[in-house]
Amino acid sequence: MSELNVPVKGISRRSFLKTTAAVAGAAAVSGATMTALAATDEETAGDEEHEVVCVCGCNCQGNCSMVATVREGKMVNIRSNEDLPYPAYERICMRGFSHANRMYDFNRVLYPMKRKTWSLEEPHVENRGTDEWERLSWDEATQLVADTLTYNTENYGVRSNCVLVSAGNSFAAYGGLIAGLGFANAFGFQGLDVCLDYGDLVGIGEVTGSGWDFNQRNMAGDYRFAKTLLIWDTNPPNSQPHSWHFCMEAKDAGANLVVIDPTYTIAAQQATKWVPIKPGTDPALGMAMLNAIIANEWYDLDFMREKTCAPLLVREDNGHFLRATDFGEEGPAQLPEYPFFGTLLLQGVKAGKVPTLEESAHYVVWDADKDAWGLINDVANPALEGSFEVNGVKVTTAWSLFKEHMAECTPEWAEGITEVSADTIVELARMYSQDTPSTIYAGYHLYDNCEEMGMTWACLAALTGNIGKRGASIGHLGKSKPTINMAGLAFPAGLKGLHDELPWLHLPEVLETGKLKGEDFPVRLLYNIGANPVGSYAAQRKTIEEILPKIPCIVTNDMEFSETCEYSDIVLPCAHYFEYDWIQASSHTPFLYMANKVADPIGEAKEDVEIFRAIAERMDNEAAKAFYAKSNEEMMRMVVDTEKGEPVGITFDNLKEKGVLADRDENWIHWEEQRWPTLSGRLEFYVENPGARIDIGKPIDKDFYHMPTYHTPFEAYDESEQHEKYPLYHYCERTRWHLHTQYNHAPVLRELDPEPYLRMNPVDAEARGIAEGDYVEAYNDRGHCVCKAKFDMGVRPGMVSSPKGWHRGAYVAGSYQELTCDHLNLLHMNTSFDDTLVEVRKYEGEVR
């Protein structure tokens, strides 16, 4: 079978740029046009033209419901679905128009393939990336994967099979991402944590108790009601274009629309105020805003007294809140660490539990009227400030501690760090606290001090009461879906014996030492499911040269031949999310969606569930077999047909019929009940027992993390050691042309965005003798990349940026992803991609 062409040979460096015509490219590599490979069934072939309601599956969280036009079995047109329960959520983006391009892209994986010289018996890694590919039948491929998983399980333990799941094959309630998580859980494989985007979530979660889940803010429609909107660390018109019109509606209604960003983006241009800030220093700005709010008494005392930990008493001895139970026989309780549990999906499940007043009745406060301690539910007027002694235990109110802690973070102090004037900082503080309600539309602060960023945002909300109200919220996405239940698919084997995920950033040490938390931990197999760690994760050269070679078998499910596929041993072709039925339900929109199949899969591609079903059939695990014996529809019903859904008309049959169902209000408010899933049910701007996002057996300095405390980024700051050698701050901008590493080939997009570039201010370019359009090399100790320089006056002098997502092959040499910082921060364990310094020089080499 090996003589059959596979769509991968000949995809050399930069070559895909030159063969952008899918037809030409496909013809060159597979001897036929790609569309000819799509099996067209009789039904659709006879039909001249019909429409299908479908959903985009990529994880920008836009969840665009769209209507595809299908002619003779092929998708010919697409438009936004205008028939939605809430028309304000009608949406599509330019990438959405490129799906036909993607479906028939020459870079699609068409057949199951194996690296020619790799075998289970001899799993060598020498020529990985350069070896030839051999086409397998599905039977052969799934048997090989099953045999390898079984062999590893028997010889090295089940957890030696590591599964890395990401949203590349669809971000779904049934399908792609959930299918991958369910596969790992069904067999008890070790899950890997992607270390992406969780940094400020940890900080926010510490205060709100929401763990490191994304579910924080109100539904996007609620932005319209804000009087002050801080767009912080993000450029929504590019990254979340669909939410921007809500912000602009707020602006039209007179709101302050403030963009805090070193770069002059289109969001900054359309805002009422742009605050250019020194990169990576945003937490200092936020802390100085807290200071100004305190100094000017712009806080909301009533809110703090009723809804936050302000009156709670912090014990001097152990730093915990004083509880009446402390005086019992058992003494101070063992507190769980915030945030909980080393798996993303469990954040919402466990940490989402909001305690009742009774459940939090044991907290002690100081009764200001009686000048004595009392229980929180009994005291009408608790003291907010002061130090006291209760039964011999020295305590201070959380509010007093917080005021004192923030006292040094003056606007003048922050001016020196952020290069934002003290006046501006005070003005921002005033707007946020006085022109209310206020919303912080947060991006991801991809620097090592991200947890402080998140914590600061949450503290701003806690002090001013800008949370859980109409027009007032913080953070990233709206809450998880209220009616559906994904647990059955994500955790088919249940939670018993569930292990924390292994953070990707910790993997190098585990591979190096062979140990995790002191125990032997061999890693024998890496199964990438819709994940592209080579393309998407920091310090790419390290991934290629140090991480992957230590793993004897790499299996990848993907629809496109990603960089990770190149370095895999077995590649299984996934269907595009327009090629099968699935269910979309993410927290960004107030809808559930039936994602209907638009066209037949290309080549031999199958959806992830089918692939796992075939593997499960070939493995010796009865429970897993039973799970995968369920039909696709049965699985979908497990998600949709729930007790909560039934009464509000959310059923699978209804969803199938209507296509899109609303599951809550379009302006839904998170935490409207003004209670939070912290232990006290209050916003805890003082964190009793801070902990690492995932337990990897390494301690953190708890005292440091009780309250927001400024620390520099890891590498990207003026005084860092690297700065002398690499004086330019490098960040990865989100462009509208890519989504992470998806849409890299879609030729219609490449017409407008033909090649990667390094965006720089001419001031920095001229100092290095670089002219617009010159090829330049950006480099640091981790790697380099060579591409064109583009001049942009909106880039802050001293910074350069690379568009995120480009395939390695698009660069003349290296990749932007070689430059990025892979430092492991023990608290947030998030990849600080932008915490990166580089130097840039004119490239004198040959450009192919």
Partner: protein
């Protein structure tokens, strides 16, 4: 009879209508084919080049005009530049030959027929260049079926074809007049019509450009008279160069006095043309703004070499033509060629310059290989140098069309009685 005397006799032929019947007889000698090996070689070479051009044109039609350097933002190129230029050359020749007859003044020796025939050849080239510029030449019939009489291009097509026919009629009339078959009055009437058409051809060609409000550089009332003056410059220069050349080749004999008068005329025309240029530059540049941009582009920008060549070439031409001591044949030919090249540079400035300054320039579109010739980089980069430079294919096709003109001219020399009639 001495050569000098012959020339003297010829000098009066234009207006010596009484002698027409004699010349009519004499012309029968002249109508016999010229047997010159050099001419045969020239005809052969022209034919070969033309055929090569034809092949390239078919390549252009089958493989697409993507093989030219023209793109959406520089949508005309060498073909239309050549069109403007050859229209100018053509009308110049005709005007030179018809003005004396029309106004009843002394002519320029026996060059009238050669001048008119050079006009015909140039008109053929001009029309040929329009045809090769068309994307759909096989739809050319539509021009006559769906004519939009409001389009300056339509005017030009009408006037140009009229002009070609008139030129032929005028040539025929001259030959017939020599044979005594056409009366002097009729010839004079035809010459007046030809003259008016010649001026009109120029104006209309200018209007194709000057009536476009889209291009600051073109949109000026001065363009039509200026086209006429430029035509006179290069037409006169061409006639002078050709006549001196043919005299040297022994094809015809022209009195030096006539050459001197041509030179004086050329000098005067060049000065008028420069004067118009000066007026235009001042009017464009004085208010500042977009016009000043045009002036800057011409004098300092990517078109500066063409601008300065034209200015210096034309001034040198004027000096040679107007300084009696310099009116030696070699220098006069040089002056003619300088004037012709200068006017060609003018055409390049006008055409490329029109595209070199883009409207909406304060905004940046995405550019690609269909929107502009050099799409690699920003739009500002694309405009930093000449926005357009022809591809070899375009140059080849253009050469082929020009070769067609030469072929026509040489065939005319060979087979038509274009020599001044001999006694």
């Amino acid at each position: 009879m001495s050569e000098y005397m012959q020339g003297g006799a010829l000098a009066s032929d234009d207006l010596d209508f009484s002698a027409s019947s004699d010349r009519g007889r004499a012309s029968e000698h002249a109508s016999t084919a010229v047997k010159s090996p050099a001419l045969n070689v020239a005809i052969g070479v022209s034919a070969v080049v033309m055929v090569v051009g034809l092949v390239l044109w078919f390549m252009q039609l089958s493989g697409g005009m993507v093989q030219t350097a023209m793109r959406n933002l520089d949508s005309w190129g060498l073909y239309i530049t050549g069109f403007m230029f050859f229209v100018g050359l053509s009308a110049g020749g005709l005007i030179i030959s018809s003005v004396p007859k029309a106004l009843g003044i002394r002519g320029f020796g026996g060059i009238s027929k050669v001048a008119v025939f050079s006009s015909i050849a140039c008109t053929v080239v001009a029309i040929g260049l329009v045809v090769v510029d068309m994307g759909q030449p096989f739809r050319v019939w539509e021009l006559f079926v769906y004519s939009n009489l409001g389009s300056p291009l339509m005017w030009d097509i009408i006037v140009l074809s009229t002009y070609l026919i008139l030129s032929c009629v005028y040539l025929w009339a001259q030959i017939q007049a020599e044979r005594g078959k056409v009366s002097a009055v009729a010839l004079r009437v035809i010459s007046v019509i030809a003259l008016v058409t010649a001026v009109l051809v120029h104006s209309v060609t200018a209007w194709i450009f000057s009536l476009q409000q889209g291009h600051e550089m073109w949109h000026t009332a001065l363009l039509a008279p200026w086209f006429v003056s430029s035509a006179l410059v290069c037409g006169t220069a061409l006639v002078m160069a050709v006549v001196i050349g043919l005299r040297r080749a022994g094809y015809l004999n022209v009195e030096q006095d006539n050459i001197v008068r041509l030179a004086k005329l050329l000098g005067a025309f060049v000065l008028v043309d420069l004067y118009f240029f000066g007026c235009d530059l001042l009017t464009e540049g004085f208010p500042g703004g977009a016009g000043a941009e045009v002036v800057a582009m011409l004098t300092q920008g990517p078109l500066a070499p063409y601008f300065w060549f034209e200015i210096i070439g034309c001034v040198a031409c004027a000096v040679i033509c107007l300084t009696p001591a310099l009116r030696r044949n070699g220098l006069l030919v040089t002056a003619s060629l300088l004037a012709i090249a200068g006017i060609f540079c003018k055409r390049v400035q006008l055409l490329v310059g029109g595209f070199q300054i883009t409207n909406l320039a304060d905004m940046a579109p995405a550019v690609n290989s269909m929107s502009i010739t050099y799409a690699d980089g920003t739009l500002a980069d694309a405009y930093a140098n000449l926005v357009y430079w022809p591809t070899p294919l375009e140059a080849g096709v253009t050469l082929g069309v020009v070769a067609l003109g030469f072929l026509v001219f040489f065939l005319g020399l060979k087979f038509l009685p274009l020599r001044p009639s001999e006694k």
